[in-house]
Symmetry: C2
């Protein structure tokens, strides 16, 4: 019974890790579509989102089966519930990558981003993808220290996000309101993606240590 | 055992219903703070958010206890998991009301909203509060038809949200980029609040019918 439980739990962790890879790739491609105004890449991200939704549905179903068949208690129960929460965050990360790709498609063949802010999105994209991949590593290794470092990296994302606002709100901004609106929403998509990646890693730490570091929904202060 | 289970489940439903009332009130007050540039009201919403977070933590803890003690299976298991998901959505709705209140505080004593968009926010606020209260009613009555009607009301919210963008992106817009950025984010907070309210109601329908109507994260298409 215990062995079957641990096998199934390991299987769930593999599914979560694979979802991290999927959403990291989706955000990497979405950022490329955004920076290069590449419609084909945007379309691939958009059509690929259903696979992430399916992966979440399967992960949730398997977690439900495990709960129903093994009826775990105490820490084991919390572990399985953490998997369900993490899968929800990961699906949401996929949605956010989808939103970025849709923004690229909506403005195509025009570029969404004026030159002044390209660097910000290039860097926020890099951090977002890195956060997803590090969350994957935390799931695989259960490395509590690495999970803590994700918080620092997410702080860098939040700093970029704040600076981005100062750029578009500056008197020198010549690209008008529609562009500022696009950038405001896009900035928020990256920032929320980072928050969810941190939340996934924190849930894994919780599973390892039995204590939730800080609170999972933090960072979203705007 | 079954009776204890149903008592505890009824207790969880009461907690969810009470959270609906709390987040509905928070959004009502936050909208008032926004429309009237009322700092005292904004501060009350901001300091009141901790109570919503606590209510979610208690609801989740009680749901965990119920799972651990009663080890429900099949529909019963899904019901308890739906409660956990709904509580998460409700906490997030509280966060979104908090963001609205913080926007009002950030610009005080200036008003955040130019005259042209006040009507939009007044109406989006009304719908948001109504959605939270109807979600509460769905939890209390398990009225599947009412849950379906929430979807239509949320469509009205999405329409307002889209029109709002056409107002701020119009060439006649004279309030500049900073104001457009505030309005973009605020519009999104209301729209997401509505999505979560619908998701809470849908989870309740799921509990009653055993089938999830559509998909819980829908509507967030921008």
């Amino acid at each position: 019974m215990r062995e079957a439980y641990h096998d199934q739990l390991g299987e769930l962790a593999d599914q979560l890790a694979s979802m991290c890879a999927m959403v990291g790739d989706a955000m990497e491609q979405a950022t490329k579509a955004l920076l290069d105004a590449d419609l084909a890449v945007a379309e691939r991200v958009i059509s690929g989102d259903a696979k992430i939704d399916d992966a979440r549905a399967k992960c949730e179903e398997d977690a439900y089966s495990l709960l129903a068949l093994q009826a775990p208690v105490a820490t084991d129960l919390r572990t399985v519930l953490s998997v369900i929460h993490a899968a929800e965050s990961l699906e949401r990360m996929g949605d956010l990558a989808l939103h970025v790709a849709k923004a690229a498609r909506r403005r195509h063949p025009a570029a969404v981003l004026p030159e002044e802010v390209r660097g910000y999105f290039s860097e926020m994209g890099r951090i977002a993808v890195d956060l997803a991949r590090k969350a994957q590593e935390v799931i695989r290794t259960q490395d509590v220290e690495l999970a803590r470092r994700l918080d620092d990296e997410d702080d860098a994302m939040d700093d970029l996000h704040r600076h981005l606002f100062s750029v578009i709100m500056d008197k020198e901004w010549t690209h008008g309101v529609p562009s500022a609106v696009d950038i405001t929403l896009l900035g928020r998509f990256y920032e929320r993606f980072g928050d969810h990646a941190v939340s996934v890693a924190k849930r894994t730490v919780f599973v390892v240590t039995g204590r939730m570091p800080g609170y999972a929904s933090g960072g979203d202060d705007l």
